[in-house]
Amino acid sequence: MSTTAAVSRDHPAIYHKVGSLRAERRWALWTAYASLIFAAIIMLAPPVYMFLTSIKTSADIADTSGSPWVVHHPTLENYRELLSSPMFLGFFWNSVKVTVCVVVVSMVISVLAAFALARMRFWGSQWLATGVFLTYLVPDTLLFIPLYQIVGSLGLLNSAWGLVLVYPTLTVPFCTWIMIGYFASIPKELDEAALIDGANWMQMLLKIFIPVALPGIIAATIFAFTVSWAAFVYPTAFITTPSEMPLTIGVVSQLIRGDTFAWGQLMAGALLAALPPVVVYVFLMDYYIAGLTAGATKG
């Protein structure tokens, strides 16, 4: 009571307050920019430094007298050497092969299942939806040892096809989960209209659900792609022959030879291997972020 009375009697105090509000806002904006610039420097420093190393010559890297952040003699030699090495191209091809198969398989499985779970109630469907979410929470590091035995007994150790078999554990639960969310948000009137027009379930899925939920399908596909491209635990455990390795484990285990590290080449390899997900991210950022946040905000 007393403070409000004091403020209303004292006009200059009010003006002072308004002025300070604007100053406060400007100050908040500057703090925001300052912290974001600081954060961006830290977030981008490792990839930038990897790039700087990858365009250095070996002599340049070994020279510890100057700043490690300066490139004196930029060269593309490391990239040229990698891109002409059949081993590296083999890693690349394995990654592409495995990722494409896994993305196709998991999208087919999860779109079909999500359609059934979102629209057709059947005995146990609620339980199954919960189960899908729970399996999404089971990490690969819990399963790799039994899967190692299972894949081994199928004779698929040291084969890229073994990876195609096990990667769906990483992708299918999450893709199904977010597709259930997207499908459930489609208004029921649409399927009623389709049913009246005599569409069967397959036509409904192909002509209504997939086109309408296309953003969700793109987000789920991006997720499946990034996850199977970046998968590390399974290939590390199952693959020891260099010719069958995908990029992640190939770069980590094969480009490090002996005690003398070819740092420039190693960094060039890591950057080339990281390129496909980054390119997808740059072009489809909004879908990528929609997929990231969908796990908790939808469903």
């Binding site: 954060a39 490792p46 430094y49 005995w123 990490p139 040892i145 990281a274 991210y281």
Partner: protein, 310 residues
């Protein structure tokens, strides 16, 4: 697979009374058919290996005899494994707290910016999350490299003595945490930014009219509105961080002297590299109770949230 059969049976055998019921029957059997691949993946690649892991963990090294809980007892008796438990918990808790705080701070800062500028910054700050962690950790490893360390070079400019990043146990632990925070904080930022955007402006206006300070707005408007997302994200990240493998494998590979091993990397070391599969399975099963408790709370948070939205 067995699940699918039991799901389908009662419907298929029900007598077709009317066309309506036949329709319902057809619909649910189609539904079961459509979910069959999913059930096969969950059953064959998650449930079956999980129960197989429990069986495996109770065998002896050559997998010829059943030894009950022997592997678990040996593990709990070993100094190294107690260290692994401690290190996993320390790593997960510290890293998740740091990620949550940094993510919250960055999300707030981004939220202050005019909407047009946000996209660009958001895009830049999410880059660590996009690069496969095994590969970006290689970059960190190179930055931590003792004789060429570019981080130490920068520290030297500010007259800070060189840090033995991966050589000393404590510094190695901190390095692993730093890399994990660098990789995971952008995810928190994106989740919290989405949550911040969903808080209606009217609430802040009402709070401002009531004379709330910035801190009070944060405490009584923002945090209660975001509580659910914050808890889901933290719990989810706790699971992922707890089960992390890539960063430890590439950065320290458990060293120095097995002091930075977490459950996953130790399970790998014991089960695959040393060839003692049952004991490796036992190591990774130690994660299970902790993960189950966290998963329970995540599920509760998610169902509560979807009920709120309805």
């Amino acid at each position: 697979m067995a699940d699918g059969a039991t799901l389908a049976l009662p419907r298929v055998e029900a007598p077709p009374a009317s066309s309506l019921r036949r329709f319902a029957r057809r619909r649910s059997s189609i539904a079961v058919l459509m979910t069959l691949p999913l059930i096969a993946v969950i059953g064959g690649l998650v449930l079956w290996p999980a129960s197989y892991a429990i069986w495996l963990s109770m065998l002896n090294r050559r997998m010829t005899a059943f030894i009950g809980l022997g592997n678990f007892e040996i593990l709990l008796d070993s100094e190294t494994f107690r260290m692994v438990i401690w290190q996993s918990v320390f790593f997960a808790v510290t890293a998740v707290i740091a990620k949550a705080l940094i993510g919250f701070w960055l999300a707030h800062m981004l939220h202050h910016l005019p909407a047009r500028g946000q996209r660009k910054w958001r895009g830049m700050l999410l880059v660590p999350w996009v690069i496969p962690p095994a590969l970006s950790t290689l970059g960190w490893w190179w930055m931590f490299e003792p004789s060429y360390s570019s981080i130490n070079w920068i520290l030297n400019i500010f007259a800070v003595p060189a840090v033995p990043w991966l050589g000393e146990p404590w510094w190695a632990r901190i390095s692993v945490i730093i890399v994990n925070v660098w990789y995971g904080a952008p995810f928190f930022m994106i989740m919290y930014l989405a949550a911040l955007k969903s808080v209606p402006d009217q609430l802040y206006e009402a709070a401002a009219i009531d004379g709330a300070t910035g801190w009070q707005k944060l405490r009584y408007v923002t945090l209660p509105m975001m509580r659910n997302i914050i808890s889901i994200t933290v719990l989810f990240s706790l699971i992922v961080t707890f089960a992390n493998y890539d960063i430890v494998r590439v950065l320290t590979n458990g060293g120095p002297r097995d002091l930075t091993h977490v459950f996953a990397s130790y399970a790998f070391q014991v089960g695959v590299l040393a060839g003692n599969i049952p004991r490796g399975a036992a190591v990774s099963l130690f994660m299970f109770p902790i993960l189950a408790v966290i998963a329970f709370f995540v599920l509760r948070g998610v169902t509560r949230r979807s009920r709120e939205e309805m």
